[in-house]
């Protein structure tokens, strides 16, 4: 097995950490810790973008790294913390499935993601090949988290984590998107955050709870 360059090893490590954090989020019940994990995921993403920028010498990636740092490591977690405290939604009661089964499903998703990514990553001869699979897996795991949770706040965190995965896919496979797109995405995320925040208050006002199963009563019979 040929030894990879140091930078690719670092990116592999970041990819693995991202996956690890995704699984940690899948298993975590406390909402505040979930936000911290999300921030850590952002941090890992930031490091990986820096490494890509440094190893490929693409200066525009530094900007997107800075964007990630500001948005995902500092701003969004702060907003979420603030929101959760004001809403009093620190506690996620029970997940729909118990943790081991969720994780087992996650494991199968990882295998699936990798088989899916294999033909694509063979086309792209960028930094490393396995990372694309991990990025896909991160997206799917975030989706899985959204499926298995009941509270609106966790759904939002899942949504944001999904975006993390997409972003990682973009940097690892294609060395980042054009700056305009990245800025647009960042703005989208921020706006959606604000809108969802407003939503939370409305949901709570309506049902006195953030539990989403209350929304089942909205269904017309």
């Amino acid at each position: 097995m040929p030894t990879l360059a140091f930078s690719s090893q670092l990116i592999n490590l970041c990819a693995a950490l991202l996956l690890l954090l995704s699984f940690a989020m899948l298993a975590q019940r406390r909402v505040l810790t979930l936000v911290d994990l999300f921030a850590m995921q952002g941090g890992t993403l930031f490091v990986s973008i820096i490494v890509v920028a440094w190893s490929t010498g693409q200066p525009h990636l530094y900007y997107s790294a800075a964007l990630t740092l500001i948005l995902k490591v500092i701003l969004l977690p702060l907003i979420l913390h603030h929101l959760i405290r004001r809403l009093g939604a620190q506690w996620e009661s029970e997940t729909l499935l118990n943790t081991p089964i969720t994780m087992l499903a996650g494991l199968l998703l990882v295998i699936f993601a990798f088989t899916l990514a294999q033909p694509i990553s063979q086309l792209a001869n960028t930094v490393t090949r396995g990372t694309l699979g991990i990025a896909l897996a991160v997206v799917m795991l975030a989706f899985l988290m959204m499926i298995t949770r009941r509270k609106a706040v966790t759904q939002v965190i899942g949504f944001l984590a999904m975006e993390n995965g997409l972003f990682f896919a973009a940097t690892s496979a294609t060395y980042g998107m054009p700056m305009v797109v990245e800025l647009g995405v960042a703005l989208d995320v921020l706006v959606s955050m604000v809108i969802l925040g407003i939503f939370f208050f409305h949901i709570r006002e309506q049902f006195d709870s953030l539990d989403l199963h209350n929304m089942e009563s909205l269904k017309e019979d």
């Binding site: 494991l107 295998i111 990798f114 088989t115 294999q118």
Partner: protein, 667 residues
Amino acid sequence: MADSTSLLYATLLVPVAWLAIGLLGLVRGRSVLWVGRILFPLGTLAGLTLGFTALAGLGAPTESLTLPLGLAQFAFHIRLDALAWFFLLLIGFTSAGIGVFSAGYFRAGEGTAPGLLCLQYHVFLASMAVVVMADDAYLFLVAWETMALSSYFLVTTQHRLPEIRRAGFIYLLIAHLGAIGILLCFGVMQGGNWQFTFEAMRAAQLTPVWASAAFFLALFGFGAKAGLVPLHVWLPEAHPAAPSPVSALMSGVMLEIAIYGVLRVTFDLLHVQLWWWGLVTLGLGLFTALFGVVFAAVQTDMKRLLAYSSIENIGIIFLGVGLTVIFHAFHMPLLAALALAATLYHCLNHAFSKSLLFLSTGSVLHATRERSLGKLGGLIHRMPWVAWLALVGTLAIAGLPPLNGFVSEWLLLQAFLFTPDLPHSYVNMLLPMGAAALALVAALAAYVMVKFYGVIFLGQPRESSLREAQDCGRLERIGLLWLAAGCVLLGIFPVPLLALLNNVSRGLLGASLGTQLQHWWLLAPIAPERAAYSPAVFLLSTVVLVAAVVLGVRRFYHGRVRKAAPWGCGFPLLTPRMQDTAEGFGQPIRQIFEPFFRMQRALPSPFDTSPHYRVQVEDHFWYALYAPIAGLVRRISSLAGAVQQGRISVYLLYSFLTLVALLAFAL
């Protein structure tokens, strides 16, 4: 080394001797002394002969012979290659231990008369030996059916009890379903030239589709005999029903004979192996193993528990078979040989340790008349021989070093560790999950065995009648000792046997572990720096260390030892019934693996003055698979019942029409 032809004749004599002993049993059928003290020891002697002959034969070249028996065109063919020798060895040595035990075990006045029992028992043994020796489908199936029938009669020894008749019926039914599968498998494998010798089948060229059909028919047929899920349902019914030596023989030997069938068909008779067969087998094996061990953990009947544990072990063996097929299909001969060695070794381990445990439950049953775990306990004080020997079996089945169960699990895990070299990425990814599941099964087996041993032999007697329990007799002790010694020896000296097993893998796969087995004390199947395990050193150092610690503590700190009542938690009315029960011990497993079970709970109301708690754990397969099939069969048979008119002339008409149809067909 003896001449291999004389070995063949010596081996042929053993089944004949068994048949003769069985017939002699009818001479004085009521005499326990005649049957128990003379015939069963003689049968044991024959078994020992078979074992040692096979040991010598493992290195000998393949021999074959055509017997002047059988039908005109279907003479009986006998062939002894290394695979056959290995399974003869298994039959010989295991049955020797069981035979001695049975000599002391069977008593008068229990169901079938001793003489008849002796006949059934020895016919059963002889038929198993013949199955292994057979070299044509005809003899194979005759022996196979004899095996099924004789074991059916043995299971229903206590035929006056309705639940035992029911168990026997289920066993017979599944056995015959399996036999149909095998029959069809042979039909497919003759490949159009209508020759039913194995020689012809080896030469037949099947298309991959037909080969796959043959493989899966064999998997179905032999899997039904071995207890592969979902064909396992007869095992937990038949084993508790049968007398313990018979359970030991069925679980320890007959299940392995089914494995022999799978190996024979897959690697010898079929000329091609496809890798996805291995994947299917591996998956089925894993599921079987997990299913068996999880169910074993929640059983409350000691023999049912062991039956489910057998299912688990069969699952592990099938897993090994699957791995062998995968490696062989991908042309990795060394690894295939490793997986095959692990599989065969596990067969032998299971034969010894499971027989040992079944026999010990037999002793417990005789001493206490109790099969339910909830009414046993504390027998280590009253039955030290059985208890300490059963401890060996317990640790062996649990797969703990340095006993034999660990060796085969070690080999299997090693084989799994090499899967990343496979050229197929899907398989590469799935196999670590297999290794993980195997590790989980092994750890769960330890849980089950702690429950088994702890509830029966440790703690306080849960019933006062247990205080009168007697230890087993001398012959029974010898039987148990023989099997326990087998477990220990197989655990400590795996290398010489693995060297012999090389002959099997050379015959089947054209590869062997070869020079990697140089030192008798060091097990290093691939290379010492990759993986090595030395059970002899391991055991020796453990013993030396324990002795050193005991002596050291004795030497420096020899305070007195006082006996006192244990702490009663401040509660004065403690009784032995307050110990954790078998249900209690299984409760965590029941909770964690809830989807596996079909549970019915009956909880008492809070105002009940004599509350009863009841939980019944059943198998999903009964209701999801067998009940619909049984319903279907019943509906079809009621349709067929419409033909039945009750008038004699209508029946005569049927016969006449049949005759006419047959004549027309012959035209």
